[in-house]
Symmetry: C2
Subunit: 183 residues, 2 copies
Protein backbone atom coordinates (compact mmCIF):
# COMPACT_ATOMS: atom_id res chain seq x y z
CA UNK A 1 0.00 0.00 0.00
CA UNK A 2 1.49 3.22 -1.23
CA UNK A 3 1.75 6.59 0.35
CA UNK A 4 0.36 8.07 -2.81
CA UNK A 5 -2.93 6.42 -2.13
CA UNK A 6 -3.44 8.95 0.58
CA UNK A 7 -4.86 12.11 -0.98
CA UNK A 8 -3.03 14.41 1.39
CA UNK A 9 0.29 12.77 0.66
CA UNK A 10 -0.48 13.09 -2.99
CA UNK A 11 -1.35 16.78 -2.60
CA UNK A 12 1.87 17.38 -0.71
CA UNK A 13 3.99 15.73 -3.34
CA UNK A 14 2.30 17.49 -6.22
CA UNK A 15 2.66 20.86 -4.57
CA UNK A 16 6.25 20.25 -3.63
CA UNK A 17 6.99 19.32 -7.19
CA UNK A 18 5.44 22.52 -8.40
CA UNK A 19 7.45 24.53 -5.90
CA UNK A 20 10.58 22.89 -7.18
CA UNK A 21 10.02 24.32 -10.62
CA UNK A 22 10.03 27.82 -9.14
CA UNK A 23 13.00 27.31 -6.89
CA UNK A 24 15.74 25.87 -8.98
CA UNK A 25 15.03 22.23 -9.71
CA UNK A 26 12.60 20.41 -11.89
CA UNK A 27 9.36 18.85 -10.89
CA UNK A 28 10.62 15.28 -10.85
CA UNK A 29 13.49 15.95 -8.51
CA UNK A 30 11.28 17.80 -6.09
CA UNK A 31 8.66 15.07 -6.21
CA UNK A 32 11.21 12.40 -5.52
CA UNK A 33 12.39 14.41 -2.57
CA UNK A 34 8.87 14.89 -1.27
CA UNK A 35 8.13 11.20 -1.53
CA UNK A 36 11.26 10.27 0.36
CA UNK A 37 10.56 12.93 2.95
CA UNK A 38 7.16 11.43 3.66
CA UNK A 39 8.28 7.84 3.61
CA UNK A 40 8.90 6.05 6.87
CA UNK A 41 11.33 3.63 5.33
CA UNK A 42 14.14 3.71 2.80
CA UNK A 43 12.87 3.32 -0.75
CA UNK A 44 14.59 1.64 -3.66
CA UNK A 45 14.56 3.46 -6.98
CA UNK A 46 12.01 1.08 -8.40
CA UNK A 47 9.43 1.99 -5.81
CA UNK A 48 9.88 5.62 -6.69
CA UNK A 49 9.41 4.76 -10.34
CA UNK A 50 6.19 2.94 -9.56
CA UNK A 51 4.74 5.54 -7.28
CA UNK A 52 5.61 8.64 -9.27
CA UNK A 53 5.36 7.08 -12.72
CA UNK A 54 8.72 8.34 -13.86
CA UNK A 55 11.27 6.59 -16.04
CA UNK A 56 13.86 4.66 -14.16
CA UNK A 57 16.65 6.75 -15.67
CA UNK A 58 15.00 9.91 -14.56
CA UNK A 59 14.77 8.72 -11.00
CA UNK A 60 18.41 7.80 -11.09
CA UNK A 61 19.38 11.29 -12.19
CA UNK A 62 17.08 12.90 -9.67
CA UNK A 63 18.50 10.88 -6.81
CA UNK A 64 21.97 11.86 -7.84
CA UNK A 65 21.05 15.51 -7.80
CA UNK A 66 19.41 15.23 -4.39
CA UNK A 67 22.50 13.51 -3.07
CA UNK A 68 24.53 16.36 -4.53
CA UNK A 69 22.62 18.72 -2.29
CA UNK A 70 23.20 16.39 0.61
CA UNK A 71 19.53 16.04 1.47
CA UNK A 72 19.13 12.46 0.37
CA UNK A 73 21.40 9.57 1.14
CA UNK A 74 21.87 6.02 0.09
CA UNK A 75 21.39 3.35 2.69
CA UNK A 76 21.78 -0.35 2.67
CA UNK A 77 18.81 -2.49 3.50
CA UNK A 78 19.27 -5.90 5.00
CA UNK A 79 18.80 -8.68 2.51
CA UNK A 80 18.23 -6.50 -0.52
CA UNK A 81 20.87 -5.90 -3.12
CA UNK A 82 19.31 -2.72 -4.37
CA UNK A 83 20.25 0.75 -3.18
CA UNK A 84 17.68 2.39 -0.97
CA UNK A 85 17.28 6.07 -0.29
CA UNK A 86 16.15 8.24 2.56
CA UNK A 87 15.68 11.99 2.84
CA UNK A 88 16.95 14.26 5.56
CA UNK A 89 14.03 14.86 7.89
CA UNK A 90 15.59 17.60 9.99
CA UNK A 91 14.26 20.64 8.19
CA UNK A 92 16.88 23.02 9.50
CA UNK A 93 19.52 20.73 8.23
CA UNK A 94 17.79 20.50 4.92
CA UNK A 95 17.53 24.24 4.51
CA UNK A 96 21.14 24.74 5.51
CA UNK A 97 22.41 22.22 3.05
CA UNK A 98 20.42 23.47 0.13
CA UNK A 99 21.38 27.05 0.75
CA UNK A 100 25.03 26.22 1.30
CA UNK A 101 25.16 24.33 -1.92
CA UNK A 102 23.40 26.96 -3.96
CA UNK A 103 25.68 29.60 -2.53
CA UNK A 104 28.67 27.53 -3.50
CA UNK A 105 27.43 26.91 -7.00
CA UNK A 106 25.94 30.26 -7.87
CA UNK A 107 26.70 33.04 -5.43
CA UNK A 108 30.39 32.47 -4.92
CA UNK A 109 31.17 32.55 -8.65
CA UNK A 110 29.05 35.68 -8.96
CA UNK A 111 31.02 37.38 -6.23
CA UNK A 112 34.23 36.41 -7.95
CA UNK A 113 33.07 37.88 -11.23
CA UNK A 114 31.79 41.06 -9.63
CA UNK A 115 35.07 41.46 -7.81
CA UNK A 116 36.93 41.19 -11.04
CA UNK A 117 34.70 43.67 -12.82
CA UNK A 118 34.74 46.11 -9.94
CA UNK A 119 38.51 45.94 -9.75
CA UNK A 120 38.98 46.56 -13.41
CA UNK A 121 36.47 49.39 -13.47
CA UNK A 122 38.16 51.09 -10.55
CA UNK A 123 41.29 51.43 -12.65
CA UNK A 124 39.54 52.29 -15.89
CA UNK A 125 39.38 56.05 -16.25
CA UNK A 126 37.21 55.87 -19.30
CA UNK A 127 34.49 53.92 -17.51
CA UNK A 128 31.23 55.77 -16.93
CA UNK A 129 31.23 56.76 -13.26
CA UNK A 130 27.86 55.28 -12.42
CA UNK A 131 28.93 51.99 -13.95
CA UNK A 132 31.92 51.85 -11.67
CA UNK A 133 29.84 52.80 -8.68
CA UNK A 134 26.95 50.45 -9.27
CA UNK A 135 29.02 47.39 -10.00
CA UNK A 136 31.14 48.23 -6.97
CA UNK A 137 28.09 48.49 -4.76
CA UNK A 138 26.63 45.28 -6.02
CA UNK A 139 29.87 43.52 -5.28
CA UNK A 140 30.06 44.95 -1.81
CA UNK A 141 26.43 44.17 -1.09
CA UNK A 142 26.52 40.56 -2.13
CA UNK A 143 29.84 40.04 -0.38
CA UNK A 144 28.38 41.39 2.83
CA UNK A 145 25.39 39.12 2.60
CA UNK A 146 27.61 36.15 1.89
CA UNK A 147 29.87 36.91 4.82
CA UNK A 148 26.86 37.23 7.08
CA UNK A 149 25.51 33.95 5.83
CA UNK A 150 28.78 32.15 6.43
CA UNK A 151 28.98 33.40 9.98
CA UNK A 152 25.42 32.68 10.91
CA UNK A 153 25.61 29.29 9.31
CA UNK A 154 28.45 28.43 11.63
CA UNK A 155 26.40 28.98 14.78
CA UNK A 156 25.12 25.96 16.66
CA UNK A 157 21.65 24.94 15.62
CA UNK A 158 20.00 25.60 18.99
CA UNK A 159 21.38 29.13 18.97
CA UNK A 160 19.99 29.65 15.52
CA UNK A 161 16.60 28.43 16.59
CA UNK A 162 16.62 30.70 19.59
CA UNK A 163 17.58 33.67 17.44
CA UNK A 164 14.87 32.80 15.03
CA UNK A 165 12.21 32.65 17.70
CA UNK A 166 13.42 35.99 18.98
CA UNK A 167 12.43 37.42 15.64
CA UNK A 168 12.45 41.19 15.52
CA UNK A 169 13.40 41.35 19.18
CA UNK A 170 17.06 40.96 18.32
CA UNK A 171 16.89 44.61 17.36
CA UNK A 172 16.86 45.40 21.10
CA UNK A 173 20.49 44.50 21.26
CA UNK A 174 21.77 46.85 18.64
CA UNK A 175 22.33 50.44 19.56
CA UNK A 176 19.51 52.57 18.25
CA UNK A 177 22.04 54.94 16.66
CA UNK A 178 22.04 54.09 12.99
CA UNK A 179 25.39 54.14 11.28
CA UNK A 180 25.82 56.17 8.15
CA UNK A 181 26.65 53.31 5.92
CA UNK A 182 24.56 53.18 2.82
CA UNK A 183 24.04 50.18 0.61
Amino acid sequence: MSLLDHPDARAFILHWGEMGTHWGTNRSVAQIHALLYLSDRPLPADDIVDQLRLARSNVSTGLKELQGYGIVRRVHVEGDRRDHFIAETDLWEMLMRISAERKRREIDPTIALLGELAGRLARDDSAPPQLRERVGRMHEFISTLAAWYDQVRGLPKPTLITLMKLGGKVARFVSPRPDKHRN
Copy 2:
Protein backbone atom coordinates in the same frame (compact mmCIF):
# COMPACT_ATOMS: atom_id res chain seq x y z
CA MET B 1 26.94 55.74 -27.06
CA SER B 2 25.63 52.69 -25.32
CA LEU B 3 26.48 51.13 -22.02
CA LEU B 4 26.78 47.82 -23.76
CA ASP B 5 29.81 49.04 -25.64
CA HIS B 6 31.68 48.75 -22.39
CA PRO B 7 32.83 45.15 -22.02
CA ASP B 8 32.41 45.15 -18.26
CA ALA B 9 28.86 46.40 -18.50
CA ARG B 10 28.22 43.74 -21.07
CA ALA B 11 29.69 41.07 -18.82
CA PHE B 12 27.59 42.24 -15.92
CA ILE B 13 24.39 42.15 -17.93
CA LEU B 14 25.10 38.76 -19.41
CA HIS B 15 25.92 37.26 -16.04
CA TRP B 16 22.90 38.82 -14.41
CA GLY B 17 20.73 37.39 -17.13
CA GLU B 18 22.16 33.98 -16.53
CA MET B 19 21.58 34.29 -12.78
CA GLY B 20 17.99 35.18 -13.50
CA THR B 21 17.41 31.84 -15.13
CA HIS B 22 18.46 30.09 -11.92
CA TRP B 23 16.52 32.33 -9.58
CA GLY B 24 13.01 32.49 -10.83
CA THR B 25 12.86 34.70 -13.89
CA ASN B 26 14.01 34.37 -17.43
CA ARG B 27 17.11 35.77 -18.99
CA SER B 28 15.41 38.68 -20.73
CA VAL B 29 13.77 40.03 -17.62
CA ALA B 30 17.01 39.85 -15.67
CA GLN B 31 18.94 41.51 -18.48
CA ILE B 32 16.46 44.34 -18.71
CA HIS B 33 16.82 44.81 -15.00
CA ALA B 34 20.60 44.78 -15.18
CA LEU B 35 20.62 47.32 -17.96
CA LEU B 36 18.34 49.68 -16.07
CA TYR B 37 20.36 49.17 -12.90
CA LEU B 38 23.51 50.28 -14.68
CA SER B 39 21.94 53.15 -16.55
CA ASP B 40 22.34 56.66 -15.22
CA ARG B 41 19.17 57.87 -16.86
CA PRO B 42 15.64 56.61 -17.44
CA LEU B 43 15.41 54.50 -20.57
CA PRO B 44 12.47 54.17 -22.93
CA ALA B 45 11.50 50.70 -24.02
CA ASP B 46 12.93 51.27 -27.48
CA ASP B 47 16.41 51.85 -26.14
CA ILE B 48 16.21 48.58 -24.27
CA VAL B 49 15.12 46.85 -27.45
CA ASP B 50 18.09 48.29 -29.33
CA GLN B 51 20.67 47.54 -26.69
CA LEU B 52 19.61 44.04 -25.76
CA ARG B 53 18.29 43.03 -29.18
CA LEU B 54 14.99 41.81 -27.86
CA ALA B 55 11.58 42.07 -29.42
CA ARG B 56 9.61 45.06 -28.39
CA SER B 57 6.83 42.84 -27.04
CA ASN B 58 9.26 40.99 -24.91
CA VAL B 59 10.58 44.16 -23.35
CA SER B 60 7.07 45.27 -22.64
CA THR B 61 6.32 42.05 -20.79
CA GLY B 62 9.62 42.11 -18.95
CA LEU B 63 9.09 45.65 -17.75
CA LYS B 64 5.68 44.73 -16.50
CA GLU B 65 7.11 41.87 -14.51
CA LEU B 66 9.84 44.01 -13.02
CA GLN B 67 7.28 46.58 -12.04
CA GLY B 68 5.29 43.79 -10.45
CA TYR B 69 8.24 43.13 -8.18
CA GLY B 70 8.47 46.83 -7.45
CA ILE B 71 12.08 47.11 -8.52
CA VAL B 72 11.50 49.11 -11.68
CA ARG B 73 9.29 52.11 -12.08
CA ARG B 74 7.92 54.22 -14.85
CA VAL B 75 8.93 57.83 -14.94
CA HIS B 76 7.99 60.67 -17.16
CA VAL B 77 10.69 62.45 -19.08
CA GLU B 78 10.29 66.08 -20.03
CA GLY B 79 9.30 66.56 -23.62
CA ASP B 80 9.04 62.90 -24.51
CA ARG B 81 5.74 61.15 -24.91
CA ARG B 82 7.20 57.73 -24.33
CA ASP B 83 7.34 55.97 -21.00
CA HIS B 84 10.76 55.74 -19.46
CA PHE B 85 11.95 53.30 -16.84
CA ILE B 86 14.40 53.29 -13.98
CA ALA B 87 15.50 50.55 -11.61
CA GLU B 88 15.74 50.68 -7.86
CA THR B 89 19.41 51.30 -7.03
CA ASP B 90 19.20 50.73 -3.30
CA LEU B 91 20.16 47.09 -3.10
CA TRP B 92 18.63 46.49 0.29
CA GLU B 93 15.40 47.80 -0.98
CA MET B 94 15.69 45.65 -4.05
CA LEU B 95 16.31 42.49 -2.06
CA MET B 96 13.47 43.24 0.32
CA ARG B 97 11.01 43.83 -2.45
CA ILE B 98 11.89 40.75 -4.40
CA SER B 99 11.78 38.54 -1.35
CA ALA B 100 8.54 40.04 -0.10
CA GLU B 101 6.91 39.49 -3.43
CA ARG B 102 8.10 35.93 -3.82
CA LYS B 103 6.98 35.15 -0.32
CA ARG B 104 3.58 36.56 -1.13
CA ARG B 105 3.28 34.64 -4.37
CA GLU B 106 4.79 31.33 -3.41
CA ILE B 107 5.43 30.85 0.27
CA ASP B 108 2.17 32.14 1.68
CA PRO B 109 0.04 29.87 -0.48
CA THR B 110 2.29 26.97 0.44
CA ILE B 111 1.78 27.67 4.12
CA ALA B 112 -1.93 27.81 3.57
CA LEU B 113 -1.92 24.47 1.83
CA LEU B 114 0.30 22.84 4.43
CA GLY B 115 -1.95 24.18 7.17
CA GLU B 116 -4.93 22.62 5.53
CA LEU B 117 -3.24 19.28 5.02
CA ALA B 118 -1.81 19.24 8.53
CA GLY B 119 -5.20 20.05 9.98
CA ARG B 120 -6.96 17.34 8.07
CA LEU B 121 -4.29 14.77 8.84
CA ALA B 122 -4.47 15.55 12.55
CA ARG B 123 -8.09 14.45 12.51
CA ASP B 124 -7.63 11.51 10.21
CA ASP B 125 -7.11 8.39 12.27
CA SER B 126 -6.33 6.29 9.26
CA ALA B 127 -3.42 8.49 8.20
CA PRO B 128 0.04 6.96 8.51
CA PRO B 129 1.59 8.50 11.62
CA GLN B 130 4.78 9.66 9.95
CA LEU B 131 2.76 11.38 7.27
CA ARG B 132 0.89 13.36 9.89
CA GLU B 133 4.06 14.19 11.70
CA ARG B 134 6.15 15.21 8.72
CA VAL B 135 3.56 17.38 7.10
CA GLY B 136 2.92 18.97 10.48
CA ARG B 137 6.60 19.69 10.96
CA MET B 138 6.99 21.14 7.53
CA HIS B 139 4.07 23.43 8.18
CA GLU B 140 5.44 24.52 11.49
CA PHE B 141 8.91 25.04 10.11
CA ILE B 142 7.93 27.17 7.16
CA SER B 143 5.50 29.15 9.28
CA THR B 144 8.26 29.91 11.75
CA LEU B 145 10.58 31.06 9.00
CA ALA B 146 7.86 33.21 7.53
CA ALA B 147 7.04 34.81 10.86
CA TRP B 148 10.72 35.52 11.41
CA TYR B 149 10.98 37.05 8.00
CA ASP B 150 7.98 39.29 8.52
CA GLN B 151 9.35 40.57 11.80
CA VAL B 152 12.86 41.18 10.59
CA ARG B 153 11.57 42.80 7.47
CA GLY B 154 9.78 45.35 9.59
CA LEU B 155 12.93 46.60 11.28
CA PRO B 156 14.40 49.90 10.16
CA LYS B 157 17.00 49.54 7.48
CA PRO B 158 19.90 50.91 9.54
CA THR B 159 19.16 48.39 12.28
CA LEU B 160 19.16 45.61 9.74
CA ILE B 161 22.48 46.74 8.37
CA THR B 162 23.97 46.89 11.83
CA LEU B 163 22.69 43.41 12.63
CA MET B 164 24.11 42.16 9.40
CA LYS B 165 27.52 43.58 10.08
CA LEU B 166 27.41 41.99 13.51
CA GLY B 167 27.22 38.66 11.77
CA GLY B 168 27.72 35.71 14.06
CA LYS B 169 28.31 38.03 17.00
CA VAL B 170 24.58 38.32 17.61
CA ALA B 171 24.92 34.91 19.16
CA ARG B 172 26.51 36.63 22.14
CA PHE B 173 23.14 37.98 23.11
CA VAL B 174 21.33 34.72 23.30
CA SER B 175 21.79 32.61 26.38
CA PRO B 176 24.22 29.80 25.66
CA ARG B 177 21.70 27.34 27.07
CA PRO B 178 20.16 25.65 24.08
CA ASP B 179 16.45 25.01 24.24
CA LYS B 180 15.14 21.57 23.56
CA HIS B 181 13.00 22.48 20.65
CA ARG B 182 13.57 20.36 17.66
CA ASN B 183 12.67 21.21 14.08
